[in-house]
Amino acid sequence: MLFNSFDFLVFFTIVYILFFASKGVFRQLVLLISSCVFYAWFIPKYLLILFVTIAIDYYAAIKIENADSEKSKRLALILGIVNTCAVLFIFKYQNFFLDNLNWITQSSFAHWDIILPIGLSFHTFQSLSYVIDVYRKKIPAERNLLTYSNYVMMFPQLVAGPIERAGHLIPQIKSTLYNRLSQSDFSIGMTIFFYGLFKKMVVGDNIAPYVSAVYDNYTYHSGATLLVATMLFAIQIYADFSGYSDMAIGIARILGYRFNDNFQTPYFSKSVTEFWRRWHISLSSWLRDYLYYPLVLGWGKISKFKLNASILVTFALIGLWHGANWTFVIFGTLHGIYLVVENITEGMRKWFVNFIRLTRLPRIHHAIQMTIVFVLVSLSFIFFRATSLTQALDILKKIFSNFSIREINFLDTNGFATLSFSILVLFLCEYLIFTKYSIEDIYNMRLGKWFAPLIAIGSILLVFSFGWWGGASFIYFQF
């Protein structure tokens, strides 16, 4: 079930009424059943995978907590990690692994014909962090299976995040069992939801046909058109994914749960390092805590080489997390290289900026930095969007060897006018409002109770007049 569908509107209205009409364990049941219905709307049988993962990780965490020796504690941790990773490997990476094995050994192991369970990468990471946090004694093991199931399966974040940590979400699930509905939660949640809907339907979905038309026929297009499509894809994926995150955060908020921000206007970043602090925050912070820090802090003394090598490994895995294809690995590694280069050249860049006295013009300096970040990130997205390495390299080659602004092909001028307008509105809103305030900040200001709903109303009207109503799915559902 897509957030941007009428099915969801009906579903959520029913859930909302039942949720606040029930209390305690019944509320938990309402939440769990509605999450099952929401998930089953896609492919019902994959619910089984979720149940198995939940049951094993639930058991592993209790085992960890009850263990009387470090060895049995570790064994239970390994059980939890292996269980989750095995599911991820079998359903997501098995065919990728076989492809590479076939290529290396010149053998011909057959593919397993399987559809990737929706949102698998998200809920497996959520389960992993839970087991690891219990092992690290950051949180106690959850003894109530219903509560734990709701932590993993809560429908707003089930299929595309944000990846919530158990330490943040489980206490909320417990403390909201008897909550009454809150007007402020409702208003703030609705406003966040509709702003997300605007991002998705007005910006992301209007860009999508242009990008698809160019990328699907890239051999016919000039370097300039490919560059425009690549930059538009960078905006599309932001609008699509951050739009989804906003909708998820908004829905959760209406029910009284507070998810962490997943995006903080990332295209206004001054460096790629800052970009990753503001882009898909729940994933980058997850990998920072559970992969990067252990890599840096493990195996002896910290050195610059070790820091940079850890960055490269972490980002290669960020890439691989997105999809079982070398294009994604290169996408991630490219970002790792950006960060390493930024680290190495930090002093030199500061000296250069002082030398040309750009520090006296901070706004221009910021604009230049933002442009560089946007171009670098856009170029990396070529590997994200391309279906094969050959395609990605061909596109890059065309951009750098066959570039003439005169050859830009806008395809459908009407569609291009609409998408240009929608991008302008998005970035104006982001620059003027959301780089400074969140919707919650706005709501809590003087007159904010009136102004916040106006954002929702404006978003709805923009969706009506400019939105793409074709019921397009979300890009991140494939991960």
Binding site: F6, F20, L181, Q183, F186, S187, N206, Y220, T413, N414, G415, A417, T418, S420, F421, P453, A456, I457, I460, L461, F464, S465, F466, G467, W468, W469
Partner: protein, 309 residues
């Protein structure tokens, strides 16, 4: 709960008020003065500047780019090509209905259509066609909105939705309204440096006499009869017959005859038109380039002259 319901109702009222004010202002200030573009501008052009014409061509891109009114002299001197890219006969029906409601009654209507129009019946296809004329908000449009379903009816209630994805285009065409000179609506296409695709598109075409489009065609016939308009149906050819299915074409023509649609010019089989068979006449497998359009228009003109006799 009551407070929240009150809030929802208040928000809805505000949305409806803003929606109505915006739509009213936009339609009157911008849309009604727009006379170009595919968001209603070309229809407005006919309504405002071509209310007294001898003949009108309606249909999809194959009509827009393949039939030149200046060449179709057998129908009169004053014609207009109101072909709209990406449309089918359902859209042609709705456009004709709008014209008739505004008292634009040409002596002849030339409808360009293809077998492919009558092979499917999905709601998505209907929606794609009717959305294009939402700004006109006619009874007939509402009827088809009702057929699509209640969700569409709810959305249709909002004027801003009726202008969905048209606002920028209308705004742009409003700005250039003074530069639109007298024209015939025909737009010739330049050639492109790729050979037309020769893959057959029509192998699985099956004529469906119960399709919404077949029904639309019958309704066009009825509107024409009611308004004393001569109705001519034209089937143009395709490169190497990629769009042609002889068996189903025959079934379709028989059905048209059964429904009293007798003025049919069937030029769909390219093997009978050697002048047009060469690659130099084609932009792609289904669209003529300017040269092909002129040649085709001449052939069509001869056929029309025969028909009128």
């Amino acid at each position: 709960m009551i407070q929240i319901i009150k809030k929802i109702i208040l928000t809805l009222i505000v949305i409806v008020i803003i929606d109505r004010i915006f739509t009213y202002a936009f339609m009157n200030i911008f849309f009604s003065k727009t006379i170009s573009g595919e968001s209603g501008g070309t229809i407005n052009y006919v309504l405002n500047k071509k209310s007294n014409i001898d003949f009108l061509i309606i249909g999809p891109s194959r009509a827009k780019h393949g039939m030149d009114p200046a060449v179709l002299t057998s129908l009169g001197a004053n014609g207009y090509d109101l072909g709209i890219n990406g449309t089918d006969v359902l859209n042609s029906l709705l456009v004709l209905d709008i014209l008739i409601k505004h008292d634009v009654k040409p002596k002849t209507i030339v409808l360009q259509t293809d077998l492919s129009d009558y092979t499917g019946n999905s709601k998505t296809k209907i929606l794609d066609q009717i959305k294009r004329v939402y700004p006109y908000d006619t009874e007939l449009v509402r009827e088809y909105v009702g057929r699509v379903g209640y969700v569409e009816q709810v959305k249709y209630f909002f004027g801003t939705y009726r202008l969905n994805r048209k606002v920028a285009n209308i705004g742009y065409n409003f700005l250039k309204r003074n530069s639109i000179g007298d024209n015939t609506g025909f737009v010739g296409l330049p050639s492109i440096p790729f050979a037309p695709d020769e893959k057959s598109l029509s192998a699985d075409y099956v004529y469906d006499k119960n399709s919404t489009t077949a029904e639309a065609l019958r309704r066009i016939k009825k509107i024409c009869d009611d308004n004393n308009i001569k109705f001519v149906v034209v089937f143009p050819p395709s490169y190497k017959n990629v769009f042609y299915n002889g068996v189903e074409q025959k079934v379709m023509l028989e059905d048209l005859k059964k429904n009293g649609i007798n003025n049919v010019i069937d030029l769909s089989d390219i093997s009978k038109l050697p002048d047009l068979a060469k690659e130099e006449n084609w932009r792609d497998a289904i669209h003529f380039n300017t040269l092909g359009a002129e040649t085709f228009s001449k052939i069509l003109n001869r056929e029309l002259a025969k028909m009128i006799k």
